[in-house]
């Protein structure tokens, strides 16, 4: 298992600095939550790590420098991500979605032949994310939460070592959140997981460690209790009373 090491990461768009010198270290096997108000730079940080936006500084994963590599090469070096809105291949079935995710290393000959049966890792992933019965349904017909699970399943068969999940439980019911959280805990026993999340209850229940981002910088870092006790964090969240999140942290395990 490898860890993620970010040093002095900077991303700017036309003069606006979205990520402003972030240092972040995620140990192997961690289940790290990235929280922070809207516009704090959480998604941009993930975009930079996965090669979607240009960045300066250094991002190392398992000792390899990622900055400057193309998106698909970063993906091949064991880093997978999901998006705020679930993006699965709607016209393909759940099984086809997973089979494609599992296949980036396939040779030409395998690609040009038909898929026969269900590959073992795909069957396992179907089981893990609880979509076995829906394997032959088009992914476009899945419910919102199921699409998010399918995406997580795709990361599993992709055999990534680092999962970067962008608001995986947004729009899920309470039970679905619970199931997703437990799934993430299981996954993080063998892989490193980073979750961007706005839902503070969810964060409190499942995070192993937390980083708070604000205005492109890391404001605070530590366990859930440490972060919640940090006066800087309270100030940031109280300063944004309009934001939904404000009450959440302020009330602190009432």
């Amino acid at each position: 298992m490898s860890g993620l090491e970010i040093r002095q990461l900077r991303v700017s768009f036309d003069g606006f600095t979205a990520v402003d010198g972030v240092d972040l270290e995620v140990r192997p096997g961690d289940l790290r939550f990235l929280i922070g108000p809207n516009g704090a730079g959480k998604t941009t940080l993930v975009d930079a790590v996965t090669g979607l936006v240009k960045a300066r500084g250094s991002v190392r994963f398992g000792g390899t420098e990622l900055l400057g590599r193309s998106v698909h090469r970063i993906a091949r070096s064991g880093i997978g991500r999901t998006f705020q809105t679930a993006t699965v291949f709607e016209e393909l079935t759940v099984l086809q979605n997973l089979d494609i995710a599992a296949g980036a290393g396939r040779g030409a000959w395998t690609m040009l032949r038909r898929r026969r049966g269900v590959p073992e890792p795909v069957a396992q992933a179907l089981e893990t994310v609880g979509l076995t019965e829906l394997a032959d349904s088009p992914a476009g017909t899945l419910a919102h939460g199921q699409k998010q699970w399918l995406e997580i399943g795709m990361l599993l068969v992709q055999e990534v070592e680092l999962l970067l999940l962008d608001e995986p439980v947004a729009g899920m019911s309470h039970d679905e959140r619970q199931a997703t959280g437990e799934l993430l805990q299981r996954i993080s026993e063998e892989r490193t997981v980073v979750v961007i999340e706005h839902d503070m209850d969810f964060m409190r229940s499942f995070a192993r460690s937390v980083s708070v981002l604000h205005a492109g910088r890391v404001l605070s870092e530590g366990t859930v209790t440490e972060v919640q006790a940090d006066p800087k964090v309270q100030e940031v969240y109280l300063g944004h009373t309009a934001a939904e999140d404000a009450a959440d942290v302020a009330v602190q395990e009432a």
Partner: protein, 361 residues
């Protein structure tokens, strides 16, 4: 599993039916003249097979297939013109317009029949590979890709017109007499050309079907629907699209090559912007994502062009434009999507609990 079996059984039945119609019915039911026209339509259908793959499955609106059709056609026609002229002689149009006393250097390799036949497919594929590398690596897509393709078709046609002395200019390469030793004026040989074309079309359909149902075909649809997502799975979408583009170009090249003996001419007017759009219209009307739809659509539109332009020569262009717009605006899946709709309706009707007997069937 049952669904899969049913699908491949239907495909085999359709394939056999098509072969029967092409080889056993058409040659007897049609006059030599009409059979010759059918051979021409089948060439259009061959291009449509490639368009189904690149556009229908890969989302690449290939509005410039005339370039590849033309490369294949000219490669074949150059060889046939050289052999028509006989050893030591220049093709007829070069004697008329040409200033050179000998064959231009880039005509010479086409004297060799093996080279010429290989070139009809490999030349378009090579050009497509080079273009595609440039286009897809730079992430040119959507409307920009379509416009670029159009511009290429236009540029190629204009270039050919400008090279009067070596390409025949606007006239193109005309009046082709023989096909590898067979006299094309003889109806028996014309019929042989028809059979070659029909067999090639069936082979291309089989090849495309294999590609569409392979893992590559699934990946191609994934790239069409969400290119970025595919990139995050560790694939380079540029390569995925490149394969479809190159295969489609090869198919168009073969179609152009076989068009030459069937019709006896290849010219800039057959490969420029308008014909390039016509190639796409057939696939759009029939259903670009469905092989059967694209092929039948291409045949129908090519037939309608002959039938309608015999009656109303001026009206055809407008009708064709209208057809394209109506198909894209109101029936993006083409006519093929109608059958799917009916099938779904029937499935819903069968599932209704009132008549449970229907399920046994």
């Amino acid at each position: 599993m049952n669904v899969l079996k049913g699908r491949s059984a239907r495909a085999w039945a359709g394939f056999a039916g098509g072969a029967f119609a092409l080889f056993a019915v058409a040659p007897f039911a049609l006059s030599d003249f009409r059979l010759g026209l059918l051979a021409k339509y089948l060439c259009m259908a061959m291009v449509a097979v490639g368009i189904c793959l690149a556009w229908g499955r890969g989302g690449l609106l290939t509005l410039g297939q005339g370039v590849f059709f033309g490369l294949g056609g000219y490669a074949m026609a150059m060889h046939l013109k050289i052999t028509d002229a006989g050893p030591g002689n220049l093709p007829d149009f070069m004697q008329l317009y040409g200033t050179a006393d000998e064959l231009p250097w880039w005509w010479r390799p086409f004297e060799n029949p093996v080279f010429a036949i290989a070139a009809t497919v490999l030349l378009p594929m090579t050009v497509a590979a080079l273009l595609g590398l440039f286009i897809f690596r730079r992430r040119v897509k959507g409307a920009y890709f379509a416009i670029l393709s159009q511009a290429l078709a236009s540029a190629f046609a204009i270039w050919l017109v400008g090279q009067q002395a070596t390409t025949g200019g606007t006239n193109g390469l005309t009046d082709i007499q023989g096909f590898f030793g067979y006299d094309l004026d003889d109806p028996v040989n014309q019929r042989m050309v028809y059979f070659v074309i029909a067999a090639s079309l069936l082979a291309l359909i089989a090849l495309a079907r294999q590609l569409i149902h392979s893992r590559y075909g699934e990946l191609l649809v994934a790239v069409r629907d969400s290119e970025e997502r595919v990139r995050f799975l560790g694939y380079d979408p540029a390569n995925v699209k490149l394969v479809a583009y190159v295969v489609a170009a090869g198919m168009a090249g073969l179609a152009g090559a076989l068009f030459v003996p069937a019709v006896g001419i290849i010219s800039p007017a057959l490969i420029g912007i308008v014909p390039s759009i016509e190639f796409v219209i057939g696939a759009a009307v029939g259903g670009r994502a469905s092989l059967v739809g694209a092929v039948l659509g291409a045949l129908a539109v090519a037939w309608a062009k002959t039938a309608l332009s015999e009656e109303f020569p001026a009206g055809w262009t407008y009708f064709q434009g209208l057809l394209f717009i109506v198909a894209l605006a109101f029936l993006p899946g083409g006519l093929a999507s109608l059958t799917k709709l009916f099938r779904r309706r029937r499935a819903v009707a069968q599932k209704s609990p009132v008549i449970p007997v229907g399920e046994a069937a």
